[in-house]
Amino acid sequence: MGKRTVIPFGPQHPVLPEPIHLDLVLEDEIVVEAIPSIGFIHRGLEKLVEKKEFTEMVYIIERICGICSFGHGWGYVSSVEGLMGIQVPDRAEYLRTIWHEMGRIQSHLLWLGLLADAFGFESLFMHMWRLRETVLDLFEKTTGGRIIFSVCKVGGVRRDMDKETLQSLVKALKKMKVELEDLTDVFLEDDSVKNRTVGVGILTKEDAMECCAVGPMAKASGIAHDTRLTGHGKYMELGFQPVIETAGDSYARTVVRIREVYQSIDLIEKAVEMIPDGPIDIPVKGTPPKGEFLMRIEQPRGEAIYYAKGNGTKFLDRMRVRTPTFSNVPALTKMLQGCGFADVPILVLTIDPCISCTER
């Protein structure tokens, strides 16, 4: 047995886009234990719900995270709509589904870029982010914002898309898909990339279950857990089936995310074909009544939970968001046990950490 050393990793580290701290207990070069600590960027956004009207709070909730901002907005308005018993028009739900899937595409492309950056493949990183720009431009064209969209509201959406815009959206995504195929081949086939991902950080199905892993982490370990199957949005109408891999290593997690990007493009294409005409919102009268509502949304990083508690006034009593990264941290510590020190940055990245979400 070698000498045990504790190496602090983060909160400031070149590979980390956001601050998380890990105390890595090493034996020679092998990680024996990883002790995480979070809480560096707590902003107290949930508390603001007591001061901001429930209709204004959407804009605050969206700012929990700059990458899954649409999902957060949608999760919040869905929980309030559930509390108030509002039935949103079909067209609005389709539009939300389209935007949410666009959000997933840009989030996964961002992650693929960061992964390439983590193992030092700079040009691949730049090219992934160049393609991500396509989606951000589409967001700007359809919602008015590139990162924060402010397009969801209680009772529907604020912006409509006409037929030409919807068609141009699909056309642009298809064009991007052709270029993306060349780049994802690099992730899937290139030896230098595979050497860093295949067989690294294996999370077995049992461990994933035990640690309550969500999203691509769980799906890469063979668990078909996806809240899009629970009936939110229009996923059931679009014939959605989750992407599953069984290997449970970093490569499988990359494959899941790459396949999800293609799946999202297909879902958007189907949604554009099926979207009905009609209103995009309904007028909301009154305030959220006394009661509670829990909503689950599949964010790009996994299942996110939104809990809303009303008290009959225009201010909610409580708003709680449980984000996917938070439930993936235990799985990360499990995964890190027994891995080499040089693999730590990649393993931390494969959970797609979003610490802003986690701490709010």
Binding site: K52, E56, M57, Y59, I60, R63, S123, L124, H127, R130, E133, D137, E140, K141, T142, T143, G144, G145, I148, S150, R158, R159, E179, D182, L183, D185, V186, E189, D190, D191, S192
Partner: protein
């Protein structure tokens, strides 16, 4: 062989024009819906204060006594809810972003006295 996959992409991008713009020297193309910054048509404002009440980030201050409409540019989150709520439609969104700065900018607009409504004379 696997190295060739990336080589193909790299070679292709060698003969392309850059994906980035030399912003702000080269102006970017704004979309029709781009939410850049809020502007006010001072002549139409009635200082009702609806925008102040609906602003989620408390960036707008309406002072009836001084007849001013103030916006904290750094506080504004461009959500457009003030534009939606304005009864006189005197607020509107411009597509251009405000220029970067090193100080917190506060814009104060003086609202002129409104002329007596013509309906009264009729």
């Amino acid at each position: 062989m696997s190295q060739l996959r990336m080589g193909k992409v790299v070679l292709r991008s060698l003969f392309r024009k850059p994906a980035t713009l030399m912003y702000p020297q080269v102006p970017r193309i704004w979309q029709e819906r781009t939410r850049g910054h809020i502007e006010i048509n001072e002549a139409d404002c009635i200082l009702c204060g609806m925008c102040q009440r609906k602003c989620p980030s408390d960036a707008i201050i309406v002072d009836r006594k001084e007849r001013t409409w103030t916006i904290h540019r750094m506080g504004c989150i461009q959500c457009k809810s003030c534009v939606d709520v304005c009864p006189k439609k005197c607020l509107f969104m411009k597509q251009e972003y405000t220029t970067p700065d090193v100080i917190k900018i506060t814009d104060i607009h003086h609202i002129p006295e409104q002329e007596k409504p013509a309906a009264k004379e009729a």
